[in-house]
């Protein structure tokens, strides 16, 4: 009985055409964007229907995705893939190889360009992800406050400390400091390091990776300088040691913050008092030469291998990253499409005219890195986080020791797992 019913349903499915399930990220802006594009797609593509669903709730989208793959309830298409996490899925042979699909090379050339694409190559030399968007992590500062206190926007650590010294103050005279320079995270959650240690390390090293061919590549002066930077900030009281997670920047309780462009809208929404802010690259050690690289916080489209309709899925991915779709992405979410020559393309000019504060982020794109693509990245960042906590937040071990521990642990992980 069940089998007959199932057969009828399957037959009906085939007659009507393909249905593909697409999971997008859960923040409101991205859901709105996905809804608009999917609606448009379904309207004009009667042969393939897309079913949109935000990633189900869970501790992190990676965990949900893993669980779904194990339970074989994964979607056909997913757009929130962190390239650093990709290798795990590639190793498990769960992702569709995209470079074998129709017009892959042509599409790449038109949108991304070979140079950028290389950063997204899997260790086996093939491509399993389609770069979608970037959120370059940068330093945003309160320009009104800086002008009032006569502070120069910091490009180097030296300049940062000068600014920090002036910013950190007791503004209401109750004997307790209530304004600080910046408020880096105190928690050990592995992904927090993508927004403090990693961008500073990339800025200090012209975009160097943490790993090189399964070995730690960060036991160096730059990494120690970065760890030392955070240690000093906490030790000198420039960074508050509090467990609160409220948005201190929007409340003007800190003068600087490190974020990607997605956060700008949030700041504007949660400001108690309106103020102006400006975005600049991550500060670099004194005497650093060259541009300040940063972590690009990229997200990619992936198609799962167990999809029934790989060609249709590829068509949908291309649709979602078309010239027009990229413009909507930029406009609705404030996130930067991975598209060569974006900032000079007249097609996107009107968005940048309207939203000037996206320009610094878009200009930063050539100087971003996607981060290390390792199946052990979570464990490595987790341990780095513990060292960061011990050294930077609590100052119980010197910076060089913290870096050495973290590097040794990477060896340990690769040796044992």
């Amino acid at each position: 009985m069940w089998i007959i019913l199932l057969a009828i349903l399957l037959y009906a499915e085939i007659c009507v055409g393909a249905t593909l399930v697409y999971w997008c990220a859960t923040n409101p802006d991205e859901i709105e964007l996905a809804k608009r594009l999917v609606k448009e797609w379904n309207h004009s593509h009667s042969e393939t229907t897309i079913k949109l669903q935000p990633v189900p709730a869970g501790a992190s989208s990676e965990e949900v995705l893993l669980a779904a793959i194990v339970a074989k309830t994964n979607p056909d298409i997913y757009s929130n893939m962190l390239p650093a996490m990709l290798n795990k899925f590639v190793k498990a042979d769960t992702l569709l190889r995209l470079d074998g699909l129709k017009n892959f090379a042509k599409e790449t050339e038109a949108r991304i360009g070979a140079t950028i694409l290389k950063d997204y190559r899997s260790p086996d030399g093939h491509y399993h992800q389609w770069p979608w968007k970037l959120n370059p992590v940068m330093l945003v500062y309160n320009i009104d406050l800086f002008q009032k206190l006569n502070i120069k926007p910091p490009r180097t650590y030296d300049e940062f400390w000068t600014a920090a010294k002036k910013l950190t103050a007791d503004t209401d005279g109750d004997g307790r400091v209530d304004r600080w320079a910046m408020s880096p995270s105190m928690t050990v959650m592995w992904w927090q390091r993508l927004y403090d240690f990693l961008p500073f390390y990339m800025a200090a090293t012209n975009g160097r990776s943490l790993l090189n061919q399964g070995r730690a590549d960060f036991n160096n002066v730059s990494a120690i300088a970065v760890m030392d930077f955070f240690q000093r900030g906490f030790a000198r009281g420039y960074f508050p040691k509090s467990g609160t997670v409220s948005n201190l920047f929007a409340q003007q309780k800190v003068g600087m913050t490190i974020v990607g462009p997605w956060a700008l809208k949030m700041f504007e929404r949660s400001m108690a008092q309106k103020f102006n802010f400006k975005t600049i690259p991550i500060p670099v050690p004194d005497g650093h030469h060259g541009p300040a690289y940063t972590f690009g916080d990229p997200k990619s489209f992936v198609v799962f291998k167990n999809t029934q309709h790989p060609e249709a899925a590829w068509e949908f991915v291309k649709f979602m990253t078309s010239k027009k779709a990229d413009k909507l992405l930029l406009d609705i979410t404030g996130q930067i499409p991975v598209r060569k020559g974006l900032i000079n393309d007249s097609y996107y000019k009107e968005v940048f005219v309207r939203r000037k504060n996206l320009i610094p982020f878009a200009s930063q794109v050539p100087f971003t890195k996607p981060g290390d693509n390792s199946e052990h990245i979570v464990e490595i960042l987790d341990f780095l986080g513990q060292q960061y906590e011990a050294s930077a937040v609590y100052g119980t071990i010197p910076a060089n020791k913290a870096i050495e521990n973290a590097a040794n642990h990477v060896e340990h992980i690769y040796k044992n797992w």
Partner: protein
């Protein structure tokens, strides 16, 4: 013959809910975990046989030993605190006070509230800047205590919270134990000249030994399973001081996808709990008098 067969059919049918539950939620998971102990499995690829490698890794994994030390530290604070507070409260509630039904119900309330909700509530209470506890302390001139961000204080703070959460349950146990002691035994002691302290020391306490054993074992089991409190409140920090064995196991399983190693941790924990309860049984268990 016919009826015998239909009888056994009915028997199977009646026991099937339990049997299914046993197999699906106990036998299968335990069996599968045991299988995983000898394998490496990242959820997605096929498990790979590794022999005793998970076990040898465990022996040299200082993060595990730190988590175990943390958990034992938690137990050392939690169990005595739990017993003292619950016993004191039970003694008060055993007396014929006005409104004792209300108080008995009130103290039981936290037991039935979800652990996650209680944890979030206490996270607010413990907040260094805006927490109620520090506000009350500030009224009597005590400086703000960094409850959850000081590596020396975080675990005791969690132990206090866990004690509060389970208090009602253990009060009920002690109350039942106290009320089971006949009033005449106290009268006999009183006629011999026993003071309240004598009564507590020589009558109540020794006669509560079976209850005490139950409470110690139950809070040991609960304590070793410490998870939701550090998971929600501290993430195992600060400086790993609240990283419990179960939280570490969770991290190995679901953050790092080391399923085989997590299963090994689970078995190690079960073994440690067994040893602990065995020792407790040896020193605490006694005959039941009532």
């Amino acid at each position: 013959m016919q009826s015998e067969q239909s009888h056994s059919k009915a028997g199977i049918l009646f026991t099937s809910p339990y049997l299914i539950h046993l197999v699906v939620f106990f036998l299968y998971p335990v069996g599968f975990s045991l299988y995983l102990v000898f394998h490496r499995w990242d959820l997605m690829t096929d498990p790979e046989y590794v022999g005793l490698r998970n076990f040898t890794y465990l022996m040299s994994d200082h993060l595990f030993w730190q988590a175990l030390t943390n958990t034992l530290y938690f137990l050392v604070i939690h169990i005595p605190l739990q017993i003292i507070v619950a016993l004191a409260l039970a003694i008060v509630l055993a007396k014929p006070l006005k409104g004792r039904v209300f108080f008995r119900a009130t103290f039981f309330l936290p037991v039935v509230i979800s652990g996650a909700a209680v944890t979030i509530l206490w996270q607010r209470l413990y907040s260094t800047e805006v927490g109620l506890i520090n506000y009350v302390l500030s009224l009597v001139g005590i400086d703000a205590v960094p409850w959850l961000t000081d590596p020396g204080i975080a675990m005791p703070a969690i132990a206090i919270m866990a004690t509060w959460k389970n208090l009602g349950l253990y009060v009920v146990f002690f109350l039942a134990g106290i009320l089971a002691i006949p009033q005449t035994v106290y009268e006999a002691a009183k006629m011999e000249g026993a003071s309240s302290w004598h009564e507590f020391r020589y009558i109540t306490l020794p006669l509560l030994k079976p209850t005490m054993f139950l409470v110690v074992v139950m809070s040991t089991l609960g304590g070793f399973n410490l998870f939701i409190e550090p998971y929600v409140m501290t993430g195992g920090g600060p400086l790993g001081s609240t990283m419990s064995v179960v939280l570490y196991m969770y991290k190995q399983a679901f953050s790092f996808q080391h399923m085989g190693y997590a299963a090994t941790l689970g078995f190690a924990l079960a073994l440690i709990i067994m040893v602990c309860v065995f020792i407790q049984k040896k020193y605490l268990d006694s005959e039941r008098y009532y």
